[in-house]
Symmetry: C2
Subunit: 312 residues, 2 copies
Amino acid sequence: MSKYAFGVDIGGTTVKLGLFDKDGCVLDKWEIPTVKDNEGAAILPDVAESIFSKMKEKNITPEDIVGVGVGAPGAIDNDGLLVGGAVNLGWGVFNISKVLNGYLNMPVKAANDANVAAFGEMWQGGGKGYSNMVAVTLGTGVGGGIIVEGNILTGATGAGGEIGHIHIEDEETECCGCKKKGCLEQYASATGIVRLANRRLAKDDAPSMLRGGEITAKVVWDAVKAGDSVAIEIAEQFGDYLGKGLAAVAAVVNPEIFVIGGGVSKAGDILLEYIEPAFQKYVFTPCGKAKFALATLGNDAGIYGAAGLVLR
Amino acid sequence: MSKYAFGVDIGGTTVKLGLFDKDGCVLDKWEIPTVKDNEGAAILPDVAESIFSKMKEKNITPEDIVGVGVGAPGAIDNDGLLVGGAVNLGWGVFNISKVLNGYLNMPVKAANDANVAAFGEMWQGGGKGYSNMVAVTLGTGVGGGIIVEGNILTGATGAGGEIGHIHIEDEETECCGCKKKGCLEQYASATGIVRLANRRLAKDDAPSMLRGGEITAKVVWDAVKAGDSVAIEIAEQFGDYLGKGLAAVAAVVNPEIFVIGGGVSKAGDILLEYIEPAFQKYVFTPCGKAKFALATLGNDAGIYGAAGLVLR
């Protein structure tokens, strides 16, 4: 009887792998380097070899395996097709599920890495017990993953849940990475918080522990926790932008819960104290019962979600 | 063999009914009054009686019926529960599917009327051939219905697709019907267009054919078609708000197509000339391939969608 699944999270530097039992407990996890030479031709063969060698080590036969789930960057449709390639792996357009299945001869399911991580948080993380969830990743950028009735919302071109690019500010003069102006990502990401901080500090001479040193999102949140009033203003601005953006998301998909992850979320529960009041200020009341929680799986969300693709 | 389905669209004044064949062609359609006395207790018995009498008229037996689909106002969950009642029918909280099934002894599926109309437009209307669609209803308010991979996105509390209440304008001083300020509905509905027009006309004395007479959305669009420059400004403002709102929706659900319906859409294709450029200005590029079309089923979208709930 099939008892195990592998979860594979393909990143630009390393590939994370996990061996899971049918209940979603991780039995082993490890990493291999992502070899991007030669248009990333070795990545999937390396994954297959690593899976076979783990099976040998653990005395697991192919019959024991339910399947292999894969998260990878880029838009991936429901059949596993990498619709527009993945620049940072060197990959062009091809069907990830089919190719990896060709190496492994086991069931393979592939999906976008951010969506897979969202799925992982729903299955075994901060969103456990919910089936209508929005995962919000506050990192270098702002990513999202939307789960509707237990399934990933992929979208027509695999760009579902790209909530970082909701237009939120008409007055913005600088461009977002996406070339438009005023995207949520420009204010609510780690780099966005630094921009908000620099703008606030340049506005006047109000005393603040943020002055003089290097500004990072962590430095700002540490100052908020220390009661620095300028940092608190910045946090309020951050919260207002993010609350407004998530209120728009709530009016569209009406989730039960928002799960906040990514590097910025390491600031902890204090983050939610700035997001939730702003969310309530803007949200359509019937959608306002949505809960907020922090992500709990950290960098393992990808392998959990990938395994969940085949186990759940 | 089951050959037919009924589609029922319960409104505040009349109940629309349709008899459909398995291919989704309407064979007959008619209306009965909505009797709201006594907390709307007669509505579902009246529907059942009307269906039985049509079956007798057409010599249709219960074995010929695939099922009965129902659209009704209010949030309705996937089991048919009217989660918060329906004030304008006098209805409290109860399970529409189960109660109507009790009268009919046939399979019944119920869903929110706006979502059902969206489903109808996807199945047999302006969105035919697509499975990831957003229906936008520009009437007294702005409603929405979201179809993801062929299914209605209901949301956690049945408020999925309430896109009229996306916050879109920070500077608004008047309240929306929902009590918040700056909702899309305040600018893109029929009444919203009148507000935009009155504000624009009050701003200066620029000559316009809109001056002096009664302002309605139709009057404004007729003036746009006649080349009135003030009316064109109003249409641009309308388009900018709606394009911005739909760009936010696109970043969340990444649809293949937006289908625009409701009374305002009677203005015709000229509407899209003002929406699409604004949409492209704000949209995250990977979501920018979404098409725009006008709804084609008009007031019949509800009965089509309701029948589609059981036929599709």
